[in-house]
Amino acid sequence: MKPKHEITKAISQFEVKGPPRLDERVRRHVCEAFSESVPASAAQVRARRWRLIASSRVAQVAAAAVITVTTLFGLRLWNLLGAEVYAVGQTVEAMRKIETAHVFCTDWEGRKSEIWIQPNPATGTNDFICVTETERDYAMISTPHVSYYYYPGRNVVRIVRGQLITSDLDLARTIESLTQDAHRQGDTVEIGRKVTDRHGEVIAIHRAGPASEFEAWIDPKTKLLLSFECVRSSNPGQFTKSWDEIRYNEPIPERLLHFQCPDDAEIKPEGWGDIDDPNLGIDVTSMSDEQACREVLTRLFDAINTSNLDQIRQLVPMARGWDDAQLAGAIWESASRLWDDRTPGVPAYEVGAPYRDRACPLGVHVPCTLADHSGRQFKVAVIVRFRQADGRRTCVVVSTWGKATPLNR
């Protein structure tokens, strides 16, 4: 056997020479770390400057100008400026140009899902979207003309006319809204460079406020979104917990893109009511937005309390896809999720002032406070959509936005 001292000598003499690429990397990130860990007052000034850059309409031009200047004047200026030559508009623009996105998501229960998106650059809407959830034995495929809910385990396909409203997922707009309405919500937005285990160096957008906290990572080269996480939310149903990985411009599998119902599958044709059908909803021509929202929601809660299913279908087009038993069951299920005592109905409610959320294209959000029979209160946002046709202005209730959250439990 080898003598011990030779082995110990070999270990002590073991030496690797550091490559130049490591020197460059360490220098760059050490300088950035020094420039980032500045006293609080300076950091606040920098954050304010960032907010200006993020929200400026000329941000892209300015950023491009800074890039040009730093390229001309050399690497050191780039190092000193570091993350600041970036504007959110660059990501929005880059994401408007993608052909497809393949997103791997995790929901708040830890369930994994995959989403395929094919946006239409001309219209900004999605020509194709497919959501598959293996754990829930479920796939949803939506195109402008026809949509499918496919349950492989049960071998059932539900066919729905037209595009599903739930398919309106716009990645670019999500990033835009991450920074744009922060000021109104009283949230802070910070943008900086970060080195991650998974992606290496990224541009990190961090938004935090009393109600929620988000972090998005952007590829510094392509400016495309790499991942997105809702770290904390007071309304956790509103967003998927995280988009763990996003792959761009991958071809969508043929079996999904041109979905064919399996020969032996049970087919269930269904139809949602059209949220833009002018015959549905109520006429609010002479009302302000706030009055209209209060009117339509008051009628809806009254209809729920009196189990007037036809009136519910008139006010909520999506409810038209269900027969009486299904609709009553859905109300019952909603009530049991909200109230522990499974008593349907909304004995007391208060409707707040509507506001717009850029992340939601379906309508305005109306914050409502609901109370159950024992007086416990919950808050929930309801989406109300306004339509204009034949000189009439009407509105319908689309759905809730996120889950109801208890106020005084």
Binding site: Q13, P19, V26, V30
Partner: protein, 187 residues
């Protein structure tokens, strides 16, 4: 020209001078990279460990405290970081070395350098066959020069466990390396 002491450089970088930290990096880069390389046998992972330690120091410069020997302090930080990286990335310890890695010896003679290059390569390969804890003990003991009692503190285990790890590691290495270095030296 007199080189500034480690302590003086630490004071400078804590006052906000990145060049002082970069000088510390230049001073100990090869040593720290060797420690990391002996532990992970993966060029990229070793570079990540050294890089992360210095970036962390830059970020937490106000909180950085060291007693005694800066070199040993940095080596321990690298050991801890490699452990984290191995845990996270599940880098296989016995993965083959990157053929592009530039491995050299301290030996000044060119003919010996070439020979020791190969020795280093083989040593890394056999070190990779040891369990991580045993590898750490050997590297901390003979590359970093730490006493076994201090290694026990770093590994958060008893001194007898460290003794046993050291003994097992040496025996395994002696068996694995049997004849290899003799061949080289005879050649």
């Amino acid at each position: 020209m007199k080189m500034p002491s480690d302590r003086a450089l630490v004071r400078k970088f804590q006052r906000g001078d990145p060049e002082a930290l970069l000088e510390i990096y230049q001073r100990y880069r090869d040593y720290l990279l060797s420690v990391a390389m002996a532990l992970v046998c993966d060029t990229n992972c070793a570079e990540d460990a050294v890089h992360d330690v210095f970036v962390f120091l830059a970020q937490k410069r106000q909180e950085f405290r060291f007693r005694g020997n800066l070199k040993a302090c940095l080596a321990v930080s690298v050991v801890n970081r490699t452990r984290d990286l191995l845990r996270r990335q599940q880098v296989r310890a016995a993965a083959p070395l990157d053929p592009d890695a530039e491995i050299v010896s301290k030996s000044p003679a060119p003919e010996q350098t070439a020979m020791l290059n190969e020795q280093c390569r083989r040593l890394a390969a056999v070190l990779g066959q040891l369990p991580q804890e045993q590898r750490e003990v050997l590297v901390l003991r003979h590359k970093c020069g730490l006493p076994l009692r201090e290694i026990a503190n770093i590994q958060q285990t008893g001194i007898s466990t460290v003794h046993a790890r050291y003994r097992y590691a040496l025996n395994t290495l002696r068996a694995l390396m049997n004849g290899e270095l003799d061949d080289e030296t005879e050649a």
